[in-house]
């Protein structure tokens, strides 16, 4: 398949791995932001192709993982009400809140529908006007334009039985929070290519300057990731700290203006809770006053108060790049994808789920190395 196969070429990937080895003179720690990138790295063993001193840290880039348990509890409460049809992306339905998951609510009679797009939820609202249809709107900047368009269409058509439980999050404030942490080990970033497809990368230039870290806007296939690492290390070795764009076939510097305008119309930027990271100022989206009629929390009650993180799960440390899955006493024993203790295990893009799927039976030298360094 064009635009996929060529970026999975093992010949080209090996050439990049050699090129990285040639320019690397000392240890470096680089964080990839996006859960999709984490999944690719672990699946294809990209980290194992790098020199032993180069560590890839896995960042908080899985929206499913960082959605507060309180939002999931609010979703469950809402889904369990009579007359409500609750729509969610498939990734979200197994994530545990404090009181079960959406899937367990469905087993107890909730009308839960798994959708691929918010437009599918809107289509249900159109088709079933007697039902109140609530869509669980999660995701980064990549996904917010899809939510915004569903709202714009609903408004234009005068649809009154469509609502949103919004928990959209924004990436740059999270990067800023990670880099502002005195314990941060991150020396360079691979920025998430599909987030930047929407937003562009001007905001990352500010972060690169402020924290003096190189940031490489990077794609998702093995050659993309290795090229991103190569560009990042080339900057680190030369003391440079700017934004480079590895994913230029998709990402223009200014991003997608139409999508930005739709998001700016429907949403306002607000403070946001991140599961595992706490509250980060200006890191989330809420409905703008002109679209308040679509706010499911306002319409059906309930407040999304995130409970404190507790228990043995170390996902809070994982999401900040401080620890690796192998350092968790529950990993692969008490905590598995079937019985997750934290969201980094339940989402397929969560770092624990990726390690469980591809690395369970073999504690890796990379893990040992990272463990020793923390």
């Amino acid at each position: 398949m064009k635009h996929i196969d060529e970026w999975r070429s093992s010949t080209l990937a090996c050439r990049y791995a050699q090129a990285v080895a040639q320019i690397t003179t000392r240890p470096w720690s680089i964080m990839e932001i996006c859960g999709g990138q984490t999944h690719s790295i672990v699946r294809y063993g990209i980290d194992r192709m790098l020199p032993s001193g180069v560590t890839l840290l896995h960042g908080p880039g899985c929206p499913v993982c960082v959605t507060p348990a309180g939002v999931i509890d609010a979703a469950i409460a809402m889904a369990s009400r009579p007359g409500i049809t609750f729509c969610s992306y498939g990734d979200m339905v197994r994530v545990p809140g404090e009181r079960g998951s959406l899937l367990s609510a469905s087993a107890h009679g909730a009308d839960l529908r798994i959708v691929y797009s918010p437009l599918d939820a809107l289509a249900i609202a159109r088709k079933e006007p007697e039902r109140n249809v609530v869509f669980l709107a999660i995701g980064f900047e990549t996904t917010a334009p899809a939510t915004a368009m569903a709202v714009l269409q609903a408004k234009r058509e005068g649809i009154v039985n469509f609502f949103l439980l919004v928990s959209h999050v924004l990436v740059p404030p999270a990067i800023d929070a990670i880099l502002s942490d005195p314990e941060s080990r991150v020396q360079g970033f691979l920025a998430a290519g599909h987030v930047c497809t929407i937003t562009g990368y001007a905001a990352y230039e500010v972060i690169a300057r402020r924290h003096h870290v190189p940031i490489v806007v990077t794609g998702f296939e093995p050659v993309d990731l290795l090229q991103g690492v190569y560009l990042c290390i080339r900057q680190l070795e030369s003391g440079s700290a700017m934004v480079e764009n590895q994913y230029s076939r998709v990402v223009p510097r200014e991003g997608n203006r139409g999508a930005q305008e739709a998001v700016a119309k429907v949403f306002v930027v607000q403070s946001q809770q991140w599961r595992g990271m706490g509250e980060i100022p200006a890191s989330g989206l809420g409905l703008a006053p002109a679209y308040a009629q679509y706010d499911a929390l306002a319409r059906f009650g309930g407040r999304a108060i995130p409970p404190e993180h507790s228990g043995v799960c170390i996902s809070a440390e994982l999401l900040r790049g401080r620890k690796r899955p192998a350092q968790c006493p529950a990993f692969g024993t008490r905590c598995t994808p079937e019985h997750p203790l934290g969201a980094t295990m339940v989402s397929s893009e969560g770092v624990c789920a990726a390690y469980y799927r591809y690395r369970r039976s073999e504690p890796t030298p990379a893990d040992d190395k990272a463990g020793a360094a923390v």
């Binding site: 080209l12 996006c34 764009n245 076939r249 139409g258 739709a262």
Partner: protein, 81 residues
């Protein structure tokens, strides 16, 4: 979650700014995608689809340039400040 898949735009249906859509082929699978965010897309273009929306038209020239990067060793890609 931010998974987006490249596919070839086969045809375009309608000209409504919010609801314009097209059929996109992903290998052997064909799905509808909303095209509101890629007004420049034309049939035959490769588009990147996320959550039912095309979010970018893939720039063939940049794709070729990025693939050739190592061949022009020491070359530089697009960089911000």
């Amino acid at each position: 979650m931010c998974l987006a898949v490249p596919g070839r735009l086969l045809d375009i249906d309608g000209d409504d700014a919010l609801a314009r859509q097209g059929r996109v082929a992903f290998g052997g699978i064909v799905k509808q995608a909303n095209l509101a965010y890629v007004p420049e897309a034309r049939p035959g273009d490769y588009v990147l689809v996320h959550a039912g929306f095309a979010i970018a038209v893939i720039d063939e020239r940049e794709a070729a340039r990025t693939l050739d990067f190592l061949a022009t060793a020491g070359g530089s890609l697009e960089a911000g400040s």
